[in-house]
Symmetry: C2
Subunit: 336 residues, 2 copies
């Protein structure tokens, strides 16, 4: 086992992601259609677009978000030791983000941006079918400099977890490349989430070269994303294209459950039951939280998938992408 040669891991996971506050409102389908938004997707917007869209939105609620940060929130709730890297500005939303992530017991020491745009926010419209449409103003997040990385913290964590969304802006992309190099040099695992079909459109070559180059140990995707990456309509073809390049490939399938292909073997679980789906924001993030929690505890792939399904089911039963109920209790014997 290569782990024997390494210094003991201090943290379970260090994640690099958007440091973002979600602004959530309930809207109808006409609102989404009339503004030519892509329902269920994420689009990047600039400060001016953010202001115009916010002016049109219904009264909302604010809750700390960010895909990778949501995953850490889930892992921390399940007992994991986590660290987060992401940049906020010196403003009220930045203080809210920092407070919330630290209050979850997550190490967060990235320096606050001294100038530049305000803290990132994601304007999320939730339609009556519980689908979310996300509009992200990246703000301070998009200027995360490579110099802000705590490489010692990255080396000290069993897994480095990277958010595909943050591959768009140049500085964080460079920082994530440095982080991958540091993690691999220290013999750590690298997990990556594909995040969104539009992000894949923009960075397909990068993502494929990371996978084919053996830089990624665990890839999280949903059906749309893995198909987009492989440029096929057929999910099985897409899986076949990448499965032997990845020690672990996860494909989440919404209400149809999830699949893991690990070292050539396929594992599958059904979705966990949900009384009423309210807001699907964070489903993938929390699935990753459950799966990684099992993974760092050395549990079998089916248990890891089941933990993912349980965490995802909790987060879609209420507004916001961070868990409200006691995930440890929901996981019960699976964590014993």
């Amino acid at each position: 086992m290569k782990e024997c040669l390494l210094s003991e891991a201090v943290l379970d996971v260090v994640a690099i992601g958007n440091a973002i506050v979600d602004v959530i409102s309930q809207e109808n389908d006409a609102f989404i259609a009339s503004r030519a938004l892509t329902k269920g997707g994420m689009q990047l917007i600039d400060a001016q677009q953010a202001e115009a869209l916010y002016a049109d939105m219904a009264s909302g609620l604010e809750i700390s978000g960010g895909s990778a940060a949501n995953t850490l929130a889930g892992m921390a709730a399940l007992g994991g030791k986590c660290g987060f890297i992401g940049q906020v500005a010196d403003d009220q939303l930045g203080r809210i983000f920092a407070h919330d992530i630290r209050a979850l017991g997550i190490r967060y020491e990235t320096e606050v941006a001294s100038d530049g745009p305000p803290t990132a926010r994601c304007l999320i419209m939730v339609t009556p079918d519980a689908q979310r449409t996300m509009n992200t103003f990246l703000g301070a997040s998009q200027f995360l400099p490579a110099a802000a990385l705590d490489l010692d913290m990255i080396r000290s964590a069993r897994i480095l977890y990277l958010e595909g969304y943050l591959w768009d802006p140049e500085q964080p992309r460079a920082a994530m490349r440095d982080a991958i190099a540091a993690a691999r040099e220290a013999g750590r695992e690298v997990a990556f989430t594909l995040s969104d079909a539009f992000v894949i459109e923009r960075h397909r070559e990068d993502f494929i070269s990371l996978i084919d180059g053996g830089m990624i140990d665990i890839l999280f995707s949903n059906e749309t994303e893995i198909c987009s990456l492989a440029q096929t309509q057929d999910c099985e073809n897409a899986i076949a294209r990448f499965a032997d390049k990845l020690p672990t490939l996860i494909v989440t399938r919404s209400e149809k459950g999830a699949i893991a292909i690990q070292n050539g073997t396929r594992y599958e679980v059904a979705a966990a039951p949900v009384e009423r789906v309210i807001d699907t924001t964070g489903a993938g993030d929390l699935f990753a939280a459950g799966f990684l929690t099992g993974h760092v505890r050395g549990q079998d792939p089916t248990t890891c998938l089941t933990l993912g399904a349980i965490a995802a089911a909790e987060v879609i039963s209420h507004y916001g992408a961070r868990p409200e109920a006691d995930l440890k209790e929901l996981a019960g014997a699976l964590l014993a």
Copy 2:
């Protein structure tokens, strides 16, 4: 009818209250006890106390609040035409508050404070029994100047609604006295909510002199508050003390329902059923919203009380003090 002599009312209600963003977290009873907070009550805190308490709080969610503003949110959801007066600072929380209240269709034109403290916030701990403990940093709210009042708007509304919480700081108290004078001069009704037993402790004489002086047409209170005002343990004695000084006296009684005494006649309704009580924040505010909605539509006191009970039941079934479900639909035929 005196209304015949007046110019037609343009708005149903204008309210003066705290312009505040709620920060809500789930805490256990030990958290409340160890910080010597009064469970179920509201205490005022300064900037330093707010910072220290926030640092200790769990990860939370932010949602626009303020007692009177919550009442307007409920009235607007029930189809009422409303205006709000309250002061925010030029910061992110201030912009969130202003956005949210305007997005509800409420007229809100109070000028933003050009200097002084940041926008008010209320740190709310919700315990597993659904009780809320509120800690308010009044910020920019407490410096609402009388000059900020839109007296024409006040004169144009059928009802002026005042939040007792805002009687504490000197400037808004003076502004509210001016507003009462303007409303009465224009022949409008004045409604007042007692807000909190501790506020009453500090301002009992003021409140009693307003009531005995015939300045208040509709008084909202709960059992604790009306007893505190009358300095008695016996709720019936307290009601008897004030009933003939007030055209309408409302006493809400949590799960026991609510009472109205109107021109000497007593009306009573049961509480509306709630599947599961999550967070009682805003129960009184939304009760007032339902009651006033019926009142401005000229409905009988029992219908007004029932509308209050329905709106209160909705808001205690989720986190936050503003309605999430469609109140019009819940009210159904009562609004027809």
